[in-house]
Amino acid sequence: MMTKARARGLIMLAGAGLLAGGCVTFRVENAPAGDAVFAGCAAYKPAYQVTDDFMRTFNSKDATAWGSTFLFPSVRLASNKLTVINSAKDLESSFDRLGAQGWDHSAWSMRKVVQCGPTKAHMLTTFVRYRKDGTVISQFDSLYIVELRDGRWGLSARSSFAP
């Protein structure tokens, strides 16, 4: 039977070992950073779902699929220009424009809900553009407005700091 003193000694030894450079690996669920206060808000999960679908369909380079994540009219504010997108057809030119820069796909590097209600969320994001070989082309902050309209959650507006 282990005495209290021996147990204490083992704990101290383990602690010293860890401090001396040992590492413990944990497996944890991905959690959005810093917006847990909104986890109970109705628009919170839809905001993540819509932006997941947005990125997945964007990377598929299928304007119709990508357009299904929008609420039309949708607004894009980027490059010091305001564009009103009225249908999926208006999205088609995006892929050629980005392709000319060597773009292959994009990914979120950060998403955070900052304001949230029953039918709307304001989400801050950072997205990264990649080449086919996985190297980074560019990275920009942006803002997404996700709303519930006519029974469907979608993207009403986005504003980025892309030049």
């Binding site: 991905n30 607004v75 709307k120 803002l143 006519d150 009403s156 700091f161």
Partner: protein
């Protein structure tokens, strides 16, 4: 991205990083408030002008704080105002609530650059006796365009 990720817990590294973090905490706090970002002071100035004009019920002055096209996301579909004089009768609607004026309860820059700021805000509506009867969150996009700083888009949680 899968539903799980792995993290490594290294106490010694953690202690060193924590120490560095504590030493840098003052600087980090300053960096987070975008103090050196060009658009920050303009965003506060424009939204001050916006609310002053709003409280004077001066639609002309209010619209001078806008870029056109100007986007208002409150009801569906979103409104695209292409020029002055296209807004709903907002003051008539507010009068029916017993509104006298509005105030910012909070404003914070959350993303910022040399020519654009994203500001999250909370505004309050007050009765003539100064009592607050409603409080809503809102988002304001302020940009430098055509040589002036103005509000390009706003999205609020007001009904």
């Amino acid at each position: 991205m899968g539903p799980f990720r792995t993290i490594e817990f290294c106490p010694l590294k953690l202690a060193v990083i924590s120490g560095c973090f504590l030493l840098a905490a003052g600087c980090a706090a300053k960096a987070d408030d975008f103090a050196s970002c060009a658009a920050k002071s303009h965003a506060f100035e424009v939204t001050d002008q916006f609310l002053e004009a709003f409280n004077r019920k001066d639609m002309g002055a209010l619209e001078k704080t806008f870029h056109f096209p100007h986007i208002r996301i409150a009801s569906y579909p979103l409104q695209v105002l292409t020029g002055p004089g296209q807004q709903d009768d907002v003051f008539g609607s507010l009068a029916s609530e017993g509104w006298a004026r509005s105030e910012w309860a909070d404003r914070k820059i959350v993303q910022c650059s040399a020519t654009k700021a994203h500001m999250v805000a909370t505004f309050e509506r007050l009765h003539p006796d100064g009592s607050v009867y409603a409080r809503y969150d809102g988002l304001y996009i302020v940009e430098l365009r055509d040589g002036f700083w103005g509000i390009t888009a706003r999205s609020t949680f007001a009904p």
